[in-house]
């Protein structure tokens, strides 16, 4: 999706910041660090960069005052976004954040969005985080993701093509793999994994 935003010819310049949440990195992925990681990606030369540089120099001289607080970070990010024409922020796997961090992060994004109405936010996560998202963004749009038969077939074909142990493969086995796996997965989709509201293209 990120690459597609990049590849798409468009009339105006866009800036993209992304972050992949990871349960193995939960302790480090605080709201402050996530907002900071987004800011890192959106700094361009000019007044905003200069103000970040001077805040850093100032923090260096303060005893024990080096760390940035969330409100400072949010303020700086608002300024960085205001200096850019259009900003897209993509955050993957929100459910892998600790609940406390997730709520602080969503609250901060809401605050920033209030001053940057053209900013676009793309987030992914397991269905259970939807309640948290709609708590902060009552009009957010949800698209359920499910494996599409066409995507699975394509993926399998590629994997089989790249199989390093070709001698173990026969035409029959290959045909079985290409038939059974998409069938099973799509069966799971309709019956177990996703509700009927899901957009399934079979």
């Amino acid at each position: 999706m990120i690459d597609d935003l990049c590849d798409e010819p468009c009339e105006e310049d866009i800036a993209i910041a992304m972050l992949y949440c990871d349960f193995r990195d939960q302790q480090k992925q605080t709201a402050t660090n996530i907002i900071g990681a987004i800011l890192r990606q959106l700094l361009v030369r000019g007044e905003v960069l200069e103000s970040v540089q001077s805040a850093f120099q100032k923090a260096k001289t303060e005893v024990g005052g080096r760390g940035l607080r969330l409100p400072d970070m949010v303020r700086m990010l608002k300024r960085a976004i205001a200096a850019l024409p259009q900003v897209f922020i993509c955050i993957d796997a929100l459910d892998e954040c600790l609940p406390k961090n997730l709520l602080e992060l969503l609250g901060s994004i809401k605050d920033i969005l209030g001053e940057s109405p053209r900013m676009r936010i793309f987030v992914t996560g397991r269905p259970q985080v939807e309640a948290e998202i709609t708590r902060f963004f009552t009009t957010s749009v949800t698209i359920p993701i499910s494996p599409k038969a066409h995507d699975i077939e394509r993926y399998l074909e590629k994997k089989l093509e790249m199989d390093t142990e070709q001698y173990a493969m026969s035409d029959r086995l290959r045909a079985d793999i290409l038939r059974v796996i998409p069938e099973r997965i799509s069966g799971m989709c309709v019956g177990v994994l996703v509700p009927s509201s899901c957009m399934i293209l079979y």
Binding site: R126, P127, T139, P144
Partner: protein, 106 residues
Amino acid sequence: MDYTAYSHNTSFGDSNVNCNNVTNNHNKIINVNKVIADENPEIMQWLSPLDPRGRHQDVRMDRLDGVGSWLLGTKEFREWRSNEGGVDKAVLFCNGEPGVGKTHLR
């Protein structure tokens, strides 16, 4: 030079991939943000210890072109992308169970 690069291109995180949106030529050029990051490593670390660059490259390498592209054709995605609906529709949430391919959407 790097500022000019930004002004005609998509600034893509602090990775070094940049795309020319005029010719759609997918030029790989060092973007402004990468230059700033390289010039200010201490500041970057101070802002955040998180650097999503590596993870993004892994995901890109792993992804199969075309898989998940149905998403881009949905009405919801197009409205979100084009700013129709304004701030009310600023947040797009793609949900799904583990392993359905959310990370690798194209």
